[in-house]
């Protein structure tokens, strides 16, 4: 029996096309091993390590044009490898090709033994250690910082507390006002803000006390809730659609590899992240304190470039742009990129906009020129 309005020839043709697609896709998938799916392949060297935190220095891909090194600082949710996903979608490679001296910090894989690490430890301890080491190696008094998402909060707080060590501050998809999701109130945007506020501070404490850390897969489930149909269709429709196209399949698998790498968030640091920032919004109010020192955004007197994504459903633009009126510098710029949270790094248009803007920004403020 054929479908109403469909000829037998069409049905046979569709079936044959589908069969060929599945056969080709099956052969491709059968021949692939996990080792074939590589991310973050740009050559680099380990130059410093403390506890589980590693600092890497990238090997240059072009003649250096900027004297002050730039440190990429990702957060504890996810991993920096997103900035170097693949050769043709790599912020890291783009920056190296533009002549920057580049470092990246990897927070490692926190386990239950790291449950008592706080954001104070990560920001003033480990990040501070990285900055000191880079400055020592380069022979400069201050470095350029590029923070991503939670890592952007780290660099913001560090810049406010140690402004003499920071030459420029570049923020990418970084929340500053954690309650500004209500500004636009777009459907499907800012769910983490809403979700975190639906819990009480005691809920957060009990959750961490029971689990030690904030499990990576727990955060993964929250992220998946933000795009429910996408999550539902990913492993059937999306995969079947591209399964016979090797290039698209590899792109898809590289992204999957990055998504699957979900480190646990150290417990005490997670409590601060969820309660102090998401619930009580202390950062934008200049009420947040690390090691007993108040984080005053007005102390950020170095040049600032704030990059946000116009359709970021995880960090709504208003939550990032709130920084504009808080910093203590008039040298503040914003760069609005099309697309969403991850599109900033992997989007085709971002490849030609993002890295050149960052390179231009740090080059303009290079200490050597001062």
């Amino acid at each position: 029996m054929t479908q109403a309005g469909t000829s037998p020839a069409t049905v046979f043709s569709d079936a044959a096309r589908f069969g060929t697609k599945m056969l080709t896709g099956g052969q491709l998938l059968h021949g692939l091993r996990d080792a074939d799916v590589q991310i973050a392949t740009t050559p680099k060297d380990l130059v410093w390590r403390e506890d589980k935190v590693s600092l890497f220095h990238y090997r240059p891909l072009a003649a250096q044009r900027v004297g002050v090194p730039l440190l990429i600082c990702y957060g504890l949710v996810g991993r920096w490898t997103m900035t170097d996903l693949q050769e043709d979608r790599s912020l890291v490679r783009n920056l190296l090709h533009l002549g920057l001296d580049l470092y990246v910090v990897d927070w490692g894989n926190p386990s239950r033994a790291d449950r008592y690490l706080t954001l104070d430890d990560y920001i003033l301890g480990y990040l501070g250690g990285c900055v000191a080491e880079i400055a020592r190696r380069a022979g400069v008094p201050k470095v350029n910082l590029l923070g991503v998402c939670e890592g952007g909060v780290f660099t913001t707080a560090f810049a406010a507390l140690e402004p003499e060590q920071v030459n420029t501050l570049t923020l990418t998809i970084t929340p500053i006002d954690f309650h500004a999701d209500t500004v636009e109130d777009r459907l499907g945007h800012g769910f983490i803000n809403i979700w975190t506020r639906s819990l009480s501070p005691e809920d957060v404490d009990r959750l961490i006390d029971a689990n030690g850390n904030l499990p990576g897969e727990f955060m993964g489930a929250i992220f998946n809730q933000m795009s429910p149909m996408r999550s539902l269709l990913k492993y059937n429709f999306d995969l079947l659609d591209i399964v016979d196209d090797e290039q698209r399949l590899m792109n898809w698998l590289r992204m999957e590899k990055w998504i699957a790498d979900r480190p646990d968030h150290p417990g005490e640091a997670a409590k601060q992240w969820m309660k102090d920032l998401y619930q009580q919004n202390k950062l934008v109010r200049n009420e947040w304190a690390l090691d007993g020192r108040r984080v005053d955004l007005g102390n950020i007197r170095m040049p600032v470039l704030n990059v946000y994504a116009k359709d970021d459903h995880i960090i709504p633009p208003a939550t990032s742009r709130a920084l504009a009126s808080k910093v203590g510098t008039s040298d503040y710029q914003e760069l609005a990129l099309a697309g969403g949270h991850i599109g900033v790094f992997v989007g085709a248009r971002s490849q030609t906009l993002f890295a050149p803007a960052v390179a231009s920004f740090v080059e303009q403020h290079d200490l050597a020129a001062a």
Partner: protein
């Protein structure tokens, strides 16, 4: 077996399974409560803080279970209607048809949005119950917490399932509207796009609702309490047999973290660099003439 028969068989199985589970739980609760009464009657040594009658929790769980079963029956009814509608759609290739069939099947609704529930359940999974009399009070605590988690999970699933049902109804209404007299028939690809958009919209609306957020928060609380009850049980055995407990390990970890913190502070004060665990083999960066800064710096402006 056609899709309607399959749906009915699945619903029957699910209902029977649920009833059997509830019966077993009620029996277990009653037996445990009777055991507790015997303990507290003085025939056996008394333990403090005995849990209340577990049959109350079982009744709550039964209520939650029933509401989900009612919703499930409604969901399979919608699926039945869709199952008779979709085969008549022209123009779909194998992928679209297969995907469309899959995503309107209520089983995928539960499977697709139950991820949080599954993650929480995995997080809560701890030791299996053994049969040691001395630990009965703690076992009861674990059982009570487990029953509460199942109840909260069912209550949350009911909210999610309601959203899917609403999405299914909206989808059907739009299909009917688009397939009206004189209109071009909706093909499978259009139907999939319509379903994706409709369901996504409905789910996102639901996720922001007070009820969704409240039931999910309750589920998280229940998961947490179960895990803590399990940990208390394990700690009991750990102490009894001399195994290191979670509390003891946490104490050690806290101490190590504090010592490392002090070490970092000392290093920083005395400007002692941390040891590099691998030789820094980074080649010295090439240094060339610095180019002229691009004249595109804009102060307090926005580029897009």
């Amino acid at each position: 077996m056609n899709s309607l028969d399959y749906s009915k068989a699945f619903t029957d199985f699910w209902t029977a399974q649920g009833q059997a589970l509830m019966k077993a739980q009620q029996q277990a609760g009653t037996a445990l409560a009777e055991g507790m009464r015997a303990v507290t009657s003085g025939k056996l040594p008394m333990w403090p803080d005995m849990p209340a009658d577990l049959s109350t929790g079982a009744a709550d769980l039964a209520g939650a279970n029933k509401s989900v079963m009612d919703l499930w029956t409604a969901a399979t009814s919608v699926f039945g209607k869709l199952a008779t509608t979709l085969p008549s759609m022209p123009g779909g290739d194998g992928i679209v048809e297969a995907t469309l069939r899959r995503v309107v099947d209520p089983r995928s609704w539960i499977g697709g949005t139950g991820e949080m529930d599954e993650v929480l359940a995995r997080m809560a999974q701890g030791p299996r119950l053994a049969d040691l009399w001395e630990a009965e009070r703690r076992y009861a605590g674990v059982l009570q917490a487990w029953m509460n988690l199942r109840r909260r999970g069912l209550e949350h699933n009911a909210v999610v399932l309601e959203a899917w049902l609403q999405a299914g109804r909206r989808f059907m209404e739009q299909l009917v509207a688009r397939s009206g007299a004189g209109s071009k028939a909706v093909d499978a690809k259009e139907a999939l796009a319509l379903w994706t958009e409709t369901a996504n919209q409905q789910l996102l609306e639901t996720q922001r609702s007070e009820r969704f957020l409240q039931t999910q928060a309750e589920m998280i609380r229940a998961t947490t309490e179960l895990r803590i009850a399990q940990q208390e049980l394990v700690e009991h055995f750990g102490k009894q047999y001399g195994f290191p407990t979670r509390t003891e390990l946490d104490d050690v970890h806290r101490t190590v973290t504090e010592l490392r913190r002090e070490l970092r502070a000392i290093r920083r004060d005395q400007q002692i660099p941390a040891p590099v665990t691998q030789p820094a083999s980074s080649p010295k960066p090439l240094r060339t003439q610095r180019s002229t800064p691009p004249p595109n710096a804009r102060q307090k402006g926005t580029r897009s």
